[in-house]
């Protein structure tokens, strides 16, 4: 079970701040989120970076998740 | 304004000749040429305006602006007489085109006219001082010019020549408005003349800028005071810059100093008089109100510096 935490904006659509989702990797996670929270804009979500246990990953497509991973979706940060 | 021609006269006479020809050309739209000026005038059209260039630090930037008015640049740096500086018993006779860096390095001038040297030292960067001149600063006639209040404070006179002869004008009367002065077509500022100050008489110049360098004065103050052996101020000149369309000689400020020991109250009164005489504007470099306050502070501080110098010269 990965713990997924939603931002304020996401919570408008999910209704919950966080939830536990059974997923072994990022793609499974997205599939499960899409099913559970149909109002979330998945295209937007896929454009976001994620943080898995605090490690920020810009392109998470191939990432796997550990048993108790904590996942956050983040806006892409570029800096100057 | 676009530079279409360039001429570098080698003598004051040649320069005057050139200017006379050009003003005649301009007035009569004729193509009169003299041998000395044929090169210049053949390039210049009847609408071409002659612009005298000393250091060029203002002129060259001005010529980059969008206006396409054709300009003949008359470079005054090849005239030996305009590039020399003579400090003698009677005072200083300065060639207006000498660059500030050279002027401030002249033997003796810093001792005799410390305020004027301070002002010349403040114009732009080291690089700009390698070009900019006191005469150029004066003839560009910006309200914020640093050397103008300093020149007024020491009672400098402008020696102006033309084909018609010479005339002398006090610096405070030379500048007539923002970017305007009393030079008529065909006239040239030939020398700047300053009497040698007596013992007990010295000047100071201060300006205020937000940084330590590279700014145009938000306000400036040139002060010259004369002290007698008892430390009483017997004469003073207070000039302020960047707080009116032209630098101002403030008689009321001087009056507040004369007869006093330049004590705190007198100096503050001079500052207040200067602020009262100011008619500043608000622009990107400062508000009118701020300028008025600052000029009082500068007059006060410059007076104190001049006082110390005057005491030391006794």
């Amino acid at each position: 079970m990965a713990r997924v935490c939603f931002s304020s904006a996401q919570q408008q659509l999910t209704g919950v701040a966080e939830c536990d989702i059974a997923a072994a990797d990022y793609r499974q996670l997205l599939g499960a989120i899409a099913q559970r929270f149909p109002r979330l804009d998945m295209a937007e979500l896929q454009k976001m970076a994620i943080a898995i246990d605090g490690e920020i990953i810009h392109e998470p497509l191939l990432e796997s998740l550990a048993e108790h991973s904590e996942v956050h979706f983040l806006h892409f940060i570029a800096g100057g | 304004m676009a530079v279409v021609a360039y001429n570098a006269p080698q003598s004051v006479e040649e320069a005057i000749d050139l200017l006379a020809t050009l003003s005649a050309t301009s007035a009569a739209t004729s193509a009169a040429t003299s041998s000395a000026t044929s090169a210049a005038t053949s390039l210049a059209t009847s609408t071409t305006r002659a612009r005298l260039m000393a250091g060029g630090t203002d002129l060259i930037i001005q010529t980059k602006s969008q206006s396409t008015e054709p300009v003949l640049v008359v470079d005054l740096k090849h005239i030996a007489e305009m590039m020399s500086c003579d400090l003698g018993a009677a005072g200083l006779s300065l060639g207006p085109s000498m660059c500030c860096a050279e002027f401030t390095a002249q033997a003796g001038v810093r001792d005799v006219y410390p305020g004027l040297v301070e002002a010349a030292d403040l114009i732009g960067s080291t690089q700009v001082q390698g070009r900019a001149s006191i005469g150029g600063n004066l003839c560009n006639s910006s309200p914020a010019a640093d050397t103008i209040p300093a020149l007024i404070a020491v009672g400098a006179q402008c020696l102006i020549v033309s084909a018609k002869g010479e005339r002398t004008v006090a610096v405070e009367d030379f500048v007539t408005g923002v970017g305007r002065n009393c030079l008529q077509p065909g006239e040239l500022l030939k020398r700047i003349l300053i009497h040698r100050p007596a013992a007990g008489s010295r000047d100071a110049y201060l300006r205020f800028i937000p940084r330590t360098e590279m700014d145009i004065a938000v306000a400036g103050a040139g002060v010259s005071v004369t002290l007698d052996q008892q430390g009483i101020c017997t004469a003073a000149r207070v000039a302020i810059g960047a707080v009116a369309p032209t630098a101002l000689l403030v008689a009321q400020a001087a009056a507040a100093l004369v007869g006093t020991r330049l004590d705190e109250a007198a100096v503050a009164a001079a500052g207040a008089a200067a602020a009262a005489a100011a008619s500043p504007i608000t622009d990107r470099r400062g508000t009118a109100d701020y300028r008025r306050q600052i000029v009082a502070v500068l007059v006060k501080r410059a007076t104190n510096i001049a006082k110390q110098r005057a005491q030391a010269s006794l």
């Binding site: 943080a51 940060i77 | 990107r284």
Partner: protein, 750 residues
């Protein structure tokens, strides 16, 4: 990585490999390329802040002898309203096109309208004067308060506020509202025994790089087009230029010239697509160079901001709640970094209850660009000022109070994840223990302390290391070297290969000779491109071992690599890197290593600054008397350049705090578009800047690197701001602290 790594080259102050070219004037920057038959391109810009273009006639200009091509927005007519990937400034391709050549409206003073290419720059300028434009002048909107008012004139009739998942139904100047929260701020404030709050303002400030934007381009109808330009990311220039012109990426080579400063301002395009259109139309190479006036009017700046911040704490110093509302100017098109402001504002603090909202607001000013830790300095300025006020009211030392509440490993951030290991506490301790902080203040002086947080980013970087037969090698990287990064790449490769740095020459490949690399920005280059360099070097080592193994007829696993020498663990054989390279022709050809990565695990770099000022209470002039910048580098690859980043960031921030600001007249015209009146610090304005490098390694980088480019510009605003507040005893709310403003504060204090 363990903290006790023993490095052979890392951490030494080597001479930068591009140094010779840069001190001799040989290095070629954006404006330094000339091509045969080249035309000069110039741009006609709006004299108004806000106006409709009623008529645009370029026929007279086109007819002028020597004019070869004219470009207007019509040349972008095929561009659609698609989003541009990447970056926090959510922008669209259409906005980008409309920013570099106005469509039906001009939206700021200096907005580009027409570009002309001619035989000489003078002819191009003459031609610009022949362009006829009828403007219908509109009321300009010049600050967020005016822009957010219900009856404000609209910049765009089709801009609707995006508020989280909701979108407004009536247009406004507010492009977006963002919100971040955690815990319960109401409960947090209820638990507080002391509350401080204030509104703050920061002005529009420009990056102020000394090199103006410049490019030279050649559009070849049949083959490869070329753009030479000064940019922080030539792959990004290629992407946006190709999309604007409808070109294939493979047909457009972008060469990054040496770059004369960027600070985020050279992460977007202004000239390149326009020059390429002019070249396409004229069939000639075209060079375009901005002048300084254009740079100030139409590129960059960082957002002006208005912010309200409220903090609550207990008497023992525990901060219980932090709340804020930020409004940032985006300029003429949406995309201010206000979200970054929201995400960074409170992050130096471990506080359970936080709530912050941010508004992205369009105004009639140049579209903002990234500026060093984009969005963070404005927001953190406000918070740090109040933390200092809190310390004063609690009678606490400001560093001590920060230590009590400092974010550390495991601290929950408002933007999502918990922090991994960070060095804020170490930075605070180093600042506290510095000689500077121990020194007492003189009369008329004040001291300010401030912390700063920036994420630092990773992302894509590609590197190839090509070895030569004599054992030298070339490191081909895709990250423009804006501040000496070649030296760091050289050292990291040398460390991984075990050979002397001088044997390796780092070069910046163009878009054709190295694979995609994200731009130099986000403090990512030494971190991410450094990782790619290490990966490429390790690839070289792996191949070296294979070649040695094949020579010795053992397996690669039986070969060790020690200090640049292959060691046969099954015998006495040794082969140096140079000898393997020399024999590479017989073992399979010359060796290249490759490191194409999308770097993850970027680690924040916290900074803590201490500033002492002296204030002239009669004129309001502030002098910086002493300044110390402390920052966590993770690992300083080249300590002198790391210090340089701290010092440079500090001084840019000092400029922002003291004198830098865009000055607009009532009609919205920019009045100080030049270095004379946009006052960046000069040498005589400053003391030496003491730099203290803290090294708390980022364990995601092989050598512990965090990246140091940006955090250093965050603390100065409040360090200077509070130092002034401390010196004059009056509350500071607005920057810059220019002499008139400080004098006013002194006088209002009474």
């Amino acid at each position: 990585m363990s903290e006790a790594q023993n490095f052979k080259y890392i951490g030494r102050n080597t001479i930068r490999p591009d140094g010779f070219d840069k001190v001799t004037g040989r290095a070629n920057y954006g404006a330094d390329l000339t091509l045969p038959g080249m035309l000069w391109g110039k741009i006609l810009r709006s004299p108004h802040a806000h106006a409709n273009i009623k008529r645009l006639d370029t026929s007279k200009a086109e007819a002028l002898a020597g004019v070869h091509a004219v470009a207007t927005f019509a040349d972008f007519s095929a561009v659609g309203d698609e989003a541009i990937e990447g970056g926090e400034g959510s922008s669209t391709l259409l906005d980008l096109a409309r920013n570099i050549l106005a469509r039906d409206k001009v939206l700021y003073h200096g907005h580009a309208v027409v570009a002309i290419a001619a035989k000489t720059a003078a002819i191009a300028e003459q031609a610009l004067a022949l362009v006829e434009i009828d403007y219908e002048i509109l009321t300009p909107v010049l600050d967020v308060r005016t822009a957010m008012a219900a009856d404000a004139p609209l910049l765009h009739n089709d801009l609707y506020t995006q508020n989280g998942a909701d979108k407004a139904t009536t247009p406004s100047n507010v492009a977006a509202r963002h919100e971040f929260k955690m815990g319960d701020v109401a409960a947090g404030f209820a638990a507080a025994e002391i509350i401080v709050e204030r509104e703050f303002y920061t002005p529009t400030a420009h990056q102020g790089y000394i090199e103006p934007h410049a490019c030279t381009v050649r559009f070849d109808k049949d083959g490869q087009s070329m753009v030479w330009c000064s940019t922080q990311g030539h792959f990004d220039v290629r992407a946006s230029t190709a999309r604007l012109l409808g070109m294939e990426l493979g047909k457009l080579k972008v060469i990054a010239s040496e770059i004369g400063g960027g600070f985020g301002g050279k992460t977007t395009v202004y000239l390149e697509p326009v020059a390429l259109i002019l070249s396409r139309k004229s069939g000639r190479p075209v060079k375009m160079v901005m002048n300084r006036d254009e740079v100030f009017k139409a590129t960059g700046p960082g957002s002006a901001s208005r912010s309200w911040i409220k903090l609550g704490a207990k008497k023992d110093g525990t901060i219980t709640a932090m709340q804020g509302s930020l409004a940032y100017e985006a300029g003429a098109f949406k995309g201010s970094p206000v979200m970054m402001g929201c995400m960074t504002a409170f992050t130096p603090y471990a506080v359970p209850n936080m709530l912050i909202e941010g508004f992205d607001v369009v105004v009639n000013k140049a579209k903002v660009a990234a500026y060093r830790a984009p969005g963070a300095p404005q927001a953190e300025f406000a918070v740090e000022m109040l933390v200092n006020e809190l310390a004063l009211k609690l009678g606490r030392d400001p560093i001590d109070l920060r230590l009590q509440n400092a974010a550390k490993e495991g601290t929950q951030t408002i933007y999502g994840p918990k922090l991994k290991r960070v060095g804020l506490v170490e930075c605070l301790e180093a600042a506290r223990d510095s000689k500077h902080y121990q020194q007492a203040l003189a009369a008329n002086q004040g001291r300010g302390v401030a912390a700063g947080f920036w994420f630092n980013v990773g992302g894509q970087s590609s590197v190839t290391i090509n070895m030569n037969p004599d054992g030298t090698g070339t490191i081909v990287e895709g990250s423009p070297d804006i501040g000496g990064s070649r030296a760091s790449m050289q050292m990291m490769a040398a460390e991984a290969l075990g050979i002397a740095p001088a044997l390796l020459k780092p070069i910046i490949g163009d878009t054709e000779n190295v694979a995609f690399s994200a731009g130099t920005g986000g403090s990512r280059t030494t971190f991410a491109t450094g990782m790619a360099v290490i990966e490429a070097a390790e690839d070289v080592v792996r191949q070296m071992k294979q070649r040695a193994a094949s020579m010795w007829n053992v397996t690669a696993e039986q070969v060790d690599w020690v200090d640049g020498v292959a060691v046969n663990t099954a015998g006495e054989d040794r082969l140096s890197l140079a000898s393997i390279c020399a024999g590479a022709d017989r073992t399979g050809g010359q060796i290249s290593g490759r490191g194409n990565i999308n770097a993850r695990g970027a680690g924040p770099s916290f900074a803590v600054h201490v500033c002492d000022v002296a204030v002239d209470q009669e004129t309001g002039k502030v002098d910086i008397v002493r300044y110390t910048a402390v920052q966590d580098a993770g690992k300083a690859i080249h300590p002198a350049y790391v210090e340089g980043q701290f010092q440079g960031g500090a001084v840019q921030g000092i400029g922002w705090a003291l004198n830098e600001e865009y000055v607009y007249g009532a009609s919205g015209l920019l009045e100080n578009a030049g270095f004379l009146d946009y006052r960046i610090p000069v040498a005589s304005d400053l003391p030496m800047i003491d730099a203290i490098i803290v090294e708390v390694p980022n364990n995601f980088h092989p050598y512990g690197v965090r990246g140091v480019g940006e955090s250093g510009i965050i603390p100065p605003l409040a360090a200077v701001g509070y130092a002034v507040e401390n010196a004059i005893g009056a509350a500071v709310t607005d920057l810059p602290l220019s002499p008139p403003r400080v004098l006013q504060l002194v006088q209002d204090r009474g």
